[in-house]
């Protein structure tokens, strides 16, 4: 107690000195991060925003001038509404499937794996050792018409003789789910692993059956992980274009990412449309995430 009092007295005595000395230190510590943010986030975002408002130069195809052409947003949104819808729908499905697959996996890793925990951990992380695109291309081979999956399904007569998996929405959602699964598993695992097992035991002591304990104790304890996992899956999945490009078809499964890619890279002078699409997507996701976090959020977002 006396030590505490002493420290407090010393502190109040040296108060002004500390304030002076420490005045700039936090800023210096923040500087690298701030610079990073400015160079790689603020500047490109502002630049993208100005591009999204550009107008086409009359009679000079491919040339644009600075303008405040809000019409870009209107055309982008009205023309590609379907793509926005698909992006959010596919990403939503991938998040739900990711959760349904990921939660039991994380649960098993946290509580049931024992000495196998590290092995399971490596199995979850190992896919990251190869490129995302290569893994998706591999899925194209696995799901090909003469590949193992389709042949088996056809043999079992689950699938019609002329059926296919690649170039369908099923393949795109499966690809998204697969590619973002680790982002779902790891945060859930982290929060389950931190959960106090005595609380779960207490559930049993209070005569709750297994399901009630899970519903009222385990799940709420893991909510921060679930929230982080769903966000880490949904946000990148909504902006993804690789899965739709490699596993999807031409019209019915294209997502916003594909339009942005094509407007940027394939349509001469498509930059303003692409930029306004990017911005609309960003805004849309921001709103959705805010609503989601408000609704289910905790302050303990991992």
């Amino acid at each position: 107690m006396s030590v505490m009092a002493h420290a407090t007295a010393a502190q109040s005595g040296a108060g002004e000195a500390t304030a002076k000395r420490g005045g700039w230190t936090p800023y210096w510590l923040l500087l690298p991060g701030l610079l990073w943010l400015v160079v790689f986030f603020i500047v490109p975002t502002v630049q993208l925003f100005t591009v999204s408002l550009q107008s086409q130069f009359p009679d000079y195809p491919g040339y644009y001038y600075r303008d405040v052409n809000v019409g870009n947003y209107a055309t982008a949104f009205s023309q590609f509404l379907g793509h926005f819808g698909r992006s959010l729908f596919f990403a939503g499905l991938a998040t739900i499937f990711g959760f349904l697959l990921g939660y039991p996996l994380a649960y098993a890793m946290a509580f049931k794996a024992g000495k196998w925990r590290n092995v399971m951990m490596i199995c979850v992380i190992a896919p990251f050792f190869t490129s995302f695109i290569l893994r998706t291309i591999a899925w194209r081979q696995i799901l090909a018409d003469e590949g193992p999956v389709v042949s088996t399904l056809k043999f079992l007569h689950v699938m019609p003789e002329n059926g296919r998996i690649t170039e369908t929405a099923i393949a795109v959602v499966a690809g998204l789910t697969y590619n973002f699964l680790p982002f779902m598993v790891l945060p859930i695992y982290a929060s389950l692993e931190r959960a106090d097992p005595r609380l779960i035991e207490a559930g049993g002591d209070l005569y709750a059956n297994g399901f009630t304990t899970f519903r009222t104790v385990t799940l709420p304890l893991s909510m921060p992980g679930v929230l982080a996992g769903t966000l880490l899956t949904f946000i990148p999945a909504a902006g993804d274009y690789v899965n739709a490009e490699l596993l999807g078809s031409d019209i019915s499964t294209k997502m916003v990412g594909n339009v942005i890619e094509s407007q940027f890279f394939k349509v001469p002078g498509g930059f303003p449309t692409a930029a306004s699409l990017s911005f609309t997507l960003m805004a849309l996701i921001l709103v959705l995430v805010m609503v989601y976090v408000r609704r289910f959020g905790t302050e303990e977002l991992v």
């Binding site: 420290a7 502002v46 408002l53 000079y60 195809p61 600075r66 303008d67 498509g270």
Partner: protein, 413 residues
Amino acid sequence: MSPTPRFAPRDPQVQSLVRTAQAGMASRRRFLSLAGLGVSGAALAACAPPLPPAGGKAALKLPKDVSSTDKTVKWANWTAYLDYDEDAKNYPTLEAFIKDTGIAATYSEDIEDNDTYFSKIAPQLRAGQDIDRDIFTLTDWMASRVIQAQLCQPLELIRMPNAANLLEPLKDVSFDPGRNYSLTWQSGFAGIGYNKAKVGRELKSIDDLWAEDLKGKVVALTEFRDTAALIMQNQGVDITGNFTKDQIGKAFDEVSKRIADQNIRRMRGNSYLEDLKSGNAIAGIVWSGDLFILRTETEDENWEFVIPESGGTLWSDNMMVPITSTHRRNAQTLMNYYYQPDVAAQVAAWVNYVCPVQGAQEELAKTDPDLAQSPFIFPTAEYIKEKNIQSFRALTPQEDQDYSAMWAKVVGN
């Protein structure tokens, strides 16, 4: 009552640090929002259209050539476009070149389609950055864009005596008269490719591709100058003439319909070969040489290439030196090497594309007399006429932009 932080620091010194950091955060937010306002204000101020871009060409400034000291050359090309030895895992003609000249040549199959590749490198070239390639190989219409935008270096023809072996009709192309900037790598046809055994009959016209039993088993090329051109020919439009927006639009509609009806499984760039190999597709609109390579790779003689009854298209891919390359001389040495008739014959025998080198036919006749008669490698003028093989006319920049935007919709973007 305000919510208590989870780790309320007890140490007053830490507390004061936390407070300072929090204050900093607030001011950072304020700063950022102000900065954002400032920039968008500048954007608002600039509403009136500026002067149009100036015409005429700027004087070209070439980078210093280091070919004599740095003996390397890097070549970007398309898939299945250079003779390849499956066993040795190398390119025999390129190996011979390295041995002869001591120039370490590297070859990469970078190009999936013209648009994607060009959009990737153009910003770098415009900014004067090295793209780590000394030769790239692009199709006529894209070569035209590259030359007009001054993104490639002029060639020193005097150092490339073999370039004179270029076929006469290719010497004076509209986009590069006299071939000062580009040299043809290969030419080829777009037409129908299919697996005779799997399809079970012969395919002769574009309409044959839309047969009920081929539904979902057909691929088509992503560039409209291939796919839509063939369909336009099928609809009786002259693709070399002044066709109208309605005429090309009609062909685009046909493609849309075929995609919607799931006749066409997928539009692809050069990667359509993967679909044919995996069995996802057994027929499609393809490039001539690829199908012969597919025969070798899959050891299946049933892959056939035919020019549709309504006609096919002829295009060329052209080697050019990027404006920022510092190995132009090495690149020229390489181009010159591939214009030796015997080397060209060796390449032609493997790639099965139209060989642009005079004298190669005689060289090939020495080793493979049958192949030397192949109309897909050495087409005669009569063959081209009889089969109605045409080149897609050059589009004006405005048409190019309009049709590209229309086409993007067709393929779902």
